[in-house]
Symmetry: C2
Subunit: 209 residues, 2 copies
């Protein structure tokens, strides 16, 4: 069994979606006084590598705690879209072997994580490709960038197309390059919390399971 | 593939270790104003079903972000200690098939979750049993109760014995009864955050993988 971590480290200076708060991670006990260390974590449902649930953008959409736990695990595959900088991913770019339940898009934008360049010119899913994906029995689609929609989007049409079909979206993945041309088992189990419109996750790929 | 959720739901009235804060889960955006819902989560590193890292109780002990990601995944087995209410788990109670990397103790205390009775009379690991376990090549031990040490412990000797051997401890698990007499693949991948003395997790068991 080989496990590849697809998750960015959460720390106080992490990249966050423009307009949202950075995380606060503070010790609230220590070994000398209480005998143990604990931290208080102040994060959002979309801090770091995270899932968007249908409820993130759709009134009446499902939250993650309303979904069966096996919706966050399954066979994965990486589609290489690194040639689409600043452009839309088209249906003709899609590479989806049968049996795959999670399609992850490799753009290489994880190299720009924690720089201003992370927020600009990443490949984004086009409406035709997004529509096609909704008919493919997928549990989710994932990106190594900040969004499935283009950087200047305000209406988030791609998010809505994907989420309406009850799939999840995983954003801010990393290390997808290591998985090109490989079959793997993908896991993005979210924290289990009430009304979860999304959740930070520890996303991993397991090869040679 | 069958996935069994071993995780309690985090919500504002969840059981917490005496003296620590309850979680705060508050919407910070809404669909009408911003086009999407997000929540602010204020939790601790030991809220709900969670891992204790060596650094939780040992000065200089490793944090979860310093451990390889495959330390949180592997073959699991449940040891039935439900006959040990209010008493210590002895070495003679231990049932550990070869190849198992996570030994989880079923006490049935998850039925008392969110009641006062949850904090009292749960079976706890005796020093002899804890010592024996440290020599068994385990990645971790788990409990469906609030602690590996007895309720009135202040020095936490069992925690320290286990954590000194660089194993992790998982606390507040649920549904272990469903796994009695079964081999399964256990996953307790923590959030990836800096200096993590512990972390809430989505713990699951996968059978028929």
């Amino acid at each position: 069994m080989k496990v590849i971590d697809l998750t960015h480290l959460i720390h106080p200076d992490i990249s966050v979606y423009p307009g949202t708060d950075k995380p606060v991670l503070e010790p609230c006990t220590d070994i000398d006084s209480e005998g143990f260390v604990e931290h208080r974590l102040e994060i959002t449902s979309h801090t770091g590598t995270h899932i968007d649930a249908p409820a993130h953008m759709l009134s009446g959409g499902r939250t993650l705690d309303e979904m069966a736990v096996d919706r966050f695990l399954g066979p994965g595959w990486v589609c290489n879209v690194s040639h689409r900088s600043g452009a839309e991913i088209r249906q003709s770019d899609l590479d989806l072997p049968s049996g795959v339940e999670f399609l992850l898009f490799y753009s290489g934008w994880d190299r720009k994580w924690e720089s201003e360049a992370y927020f600009d010119r990443f490949p984004f899913l086009g409406p035709e490709a997004a529509n096609w994906l909704t008919g493919r029995q997928l549990k989710g689609v994932g990106f190594d960038a900040i969004s499935a929609d283009p950087p200047d989007s305000t209406g988030y049409p791609v998010h809505k197309t994907i989420l309406k079909s009850d799939m999840i979206i995983i954003e801010n993945l990393t290390n997808l390059k290591l998985l090109l041309e490989k079959h793997f088992f993908f896991s993005c189990l979210p924290l289990r919390w009430l009304h979860s419109d999304g959740s930070p996750v520890r996303a991993v790929a397991i090869t040679d399971l």
